[in-house]
Symmetry: C2
Subunit: 128 residues, 2 copies
DNA sequence: TCGAAAATTGACTTTTACGTAAAAGCCGTG
DNA sequence: CACGGCTTTTACGTAAAAGTCAATTTTCGA
């Protein structure tokens, strides 16, 4: 486990641009430490980037990703805050489960389309 | 099963604007029939709208949704075309399975965050 | 048949999520 | 020491996906 990663190391690892990483920083999603003016990304920053990209992949906006990240942060001390956080987590879970249903439905439609193609090919005497 | 739906019926059902439906039409995603200049959406158009919104929900761009819609269409007659279509279907399935993994990972992280909150509350003597 | 409500087109605007370009600082190598 | 490579900030640009507004039709129910 490395101590720090440079910005280009992360861009190469994740296939994104430096602009994207700086943008996420501007948006308050990540806060790499600095040596002088140069950004140094810790393993925890790297992990956060991975999570951000996962969120992006499944169609969350930056604002929504920010909300999810808030939730990842260490739980606060106060009871009210904890309960509020639990509520927010539940909401995000609902969002994700809905997305999962949408995803499964789309996969099923694709499977049907696939089957139709295979059948049509069979009719034409082609073995897949 | 109704014959036709008006544009506002669909906007209400799906919680989108008329502009959005017309935009999808401009983009060639749906082609409702017309009575005069008025759009009439068939059940198949309605179903297509549902699919479009599902695609949008899970982070596909209009261009990607268009590709998926191409795939839904009745399989063509020619063998080469059919094989090409099968290849495109496989590609979309890969995309979706990756998204599903990202989604599951995010759900797991949320479950961990939830557990941390519950434990912290338990330490404070609060029963959830 | 008349008038409100709904639908149309077209143009312009907005938001999100970066891209791109300019100008300059740091740093190891030959 | 200058060179290439990586990094920085600042600033403007842009594509996608609609939102908004205006000016007209069109439709439909009383």
């Amino acid at each position: 486990m490395r101590d720090y990663y440079s910005i280009t190391e992360l861009t190469r690892e994740f296939g994104i641009s430096t602009r994207t990483l700086r943008f996420y920083e501007d948006e308050g999603l990540i806060k790499p430490v600095r040596r002088g003016r140069t950004r140094l990304y810790r393993p925890s920053d790297r992990h956060l980037v991975r999570q951000i990209l996962r969120g992006r992949s499944i169609g969350f906006s930056i604002a929504e990703i920010r909300e999810i990240i808030e939730v990842y942060k260490a739980p606060p001390g106060e009871i009210g805050q904890l309960k509020l956080m639990l509520a927010r987590i539940s909401e995000k879970q609902r969002d994700l489960r809905q997305k999962r249903r949408d995803l499964e439905d789309t996969l099923e439609e694709l499977a049907r389309a696939e089957e139709a193609c295979v059948e049509r090919l069979a009719e034409l005497g082609v073995t897949t």
